[in-house]
Amino acid sequence: MAQALAIQNLTMRFDGLTAVDRADLSLQDRQIVSLIGPNGAGKTTLFNCVTGHYAPTEGTVHLGKDELLSGLPPHTIAKKGVVRTFQNIRLFPAMSAVENVMVGRHCRTRAGVLGALLGPPSVRREERAIRARARELLAFCGAAEYEDQQARNLPYGVQRRLEIARALAAEPKILCLDEPAAGMNPRETADLITLITAIRGLGITVFLIEHHMNVVMSISDRVAVMDHGVKIAEGTPDQVQKNPAVIAAYLGEAVGSG
């Protein structure tokens, strides 16, 4: 299997605080890799470094074999194929569901000012293709019936899935999902598990931050655990669950408790 993403020696410092401390992680093609850890462990900061929202203080992120991502702006990273969703949903609230997904096609389409103003057949064709693809993706994520509704009016679970559809529209090689199951009920969570597995089926590598352990343990190929900015464990779900350092991070140290 080929390497999809390599995070090497990644450090992110904010003044005195080291949010991520020399993290190493590599994702293989078509894997589902989960990042878990207690709140404030630095998971989202690591995501922000990967997707370009932060420029890491030290260390590098490479896409594929040797394409350097760290230091590039988010839109360039998205175009190179690393696309994310947000922990606190960030849709375009006043746009309809299908328009939200259509925005995701921006970096894969071309029409410029002149194209917009003159509207030649090629541009119209492109616009039709954008809409058609957006509809397909809405259907793929199970939100087809909400196509024309404003994003702000959608039920919470649908908003989560819409955000995934929008990210898929940008044709990612690696899809970064930041707590997609947060706030979902068991039924929605089960649907989400099916969806993430289907996304892997499209040949996309999934990088997942999640707190729901049943989601993480049932679909992950590998699990990495962070605590206080440091990666404390990595392995298959089984290995991680048995790792004493992980148990200590989640349940507290046995030492000193008498």
């Binding site: 997707t51 929202h53 702006p73 988010p74 839109h75 360039t76 998205a78 175009k79 696309v83 994310r84 947000f86 960030r90 849709l91 375009f92 609230p93 006043a94 746009m95 328009e99 259509m102 925005v103 995701g104 096609r105 921006h106 970096c107 894969r108 389409t109 029409a111 410029g112 000012v113 194209g115 917009a116 103003l117 509207g119 541009v123 492109e126 616009e127 954008i130 404003q150 702000r152 009016n153 929008r166 990210a167 529209a169 940008a170």
Partner: protein, 394 residues
Amino acid sequence: MRTADVSHVLRTRLARAAGWTAAFYLMVLPLMGPRRGLWVALAVLVVQALALAADRVPPASRERFAAALRGGGRCSVWMEHCPAWVRTAAPSALLLALAIAGLGMSPYTLDVATNAGIYVLLALGLNIVVGMAGLLVLGYIAFSAVGAYTYAILNTQFHLSFWLALPLGGALAACFGLLLGLPTLRLRGDYLAIVTLGFGEITRITLNNWNSLTNGPNGILGIKPPSLFGFTFSQPKHYFYLLLGMVALAAFFSRRLERSRLGRAFVAMREDETAAESMGVPTLRLKLLAFTLAAFWGGVAGVLFASKQLFVSPESFNFLESVMVLCMVVLGGMGSVPGVILGAVLLAFLPEVLRGVAEYRLIVFGAAMVLLMQYRPQGIWPSTRRYEEFRQEA
């Protein structure tokens, strides 16, 4: 309610009304003198009385009235649902109607309509950056000044033809937009507004002081009117049709832009910049593009302004003009092309209509704006998006 309570409420109300009236009287006293000021005080008193009367209206009917105002003018929603041929035909029909109406208008009406046309161009331009991309720009009229002076200088010095100056003035204004945008578009919200406000003032002050180029506060006289194949634009009628054509062109392009991939990206950027950037939308570049396009139309409007007035001076490009254009965009309905056109036409005509009340017209004008913002914050003809937004808040 007991009689004692009623009289108590009434007394506080009357005291408040008297307070407001006195305050307004003192405010307008230096402007209007003691006698004419009394009229303003009287008007304030009447408004207070009306407000008092409105309180006696049962809450249910009042609610219904407010809801009707807020929900009324569902034009954009209605437009979305009417058959495609109506949507395509309506603007052309309106254009045709205006063209025919132009034949019967008095020179005075034609002149006012032409000025309104220039404002519509400005408002459509500003709408790209304020309405679509969501960037607050305050010194917009400066771009128009660039266009106007481009034509004024090149025409008086080098006899440059109007038809060449039109794109050139737009392009030069666009260059200024680009130059201003490059360093400032990293700023968000209020900061950008202040920087653009500064730019507007700097432009005006430069025009006022660069005597060798702009002839300073005296302005530039002797600009030739446009001509086409030997036909010279000399009457208000000619300018009316010229502006009608330009407005149609600008509205058409605005509509096209709005529905394009770029227009969508502009709106996404306005809604959530971070999310748009994460989806691969190069926000900095698109902001610059919105800025440049808006500046271009500002420049074009400036050239038309100079060609109509045949005279330019820095006075015409003061801050109030920028504010006026911004008001047109906001009152009409940000991001809605028909709304912005309507807003510009209304605000351009209102002062003329109000000529009857002479010097009080600015007060009436102000009151109209306050009322509009109070009862229809989404604008007169809001875009479908904003209509939904405000309907929910209501």
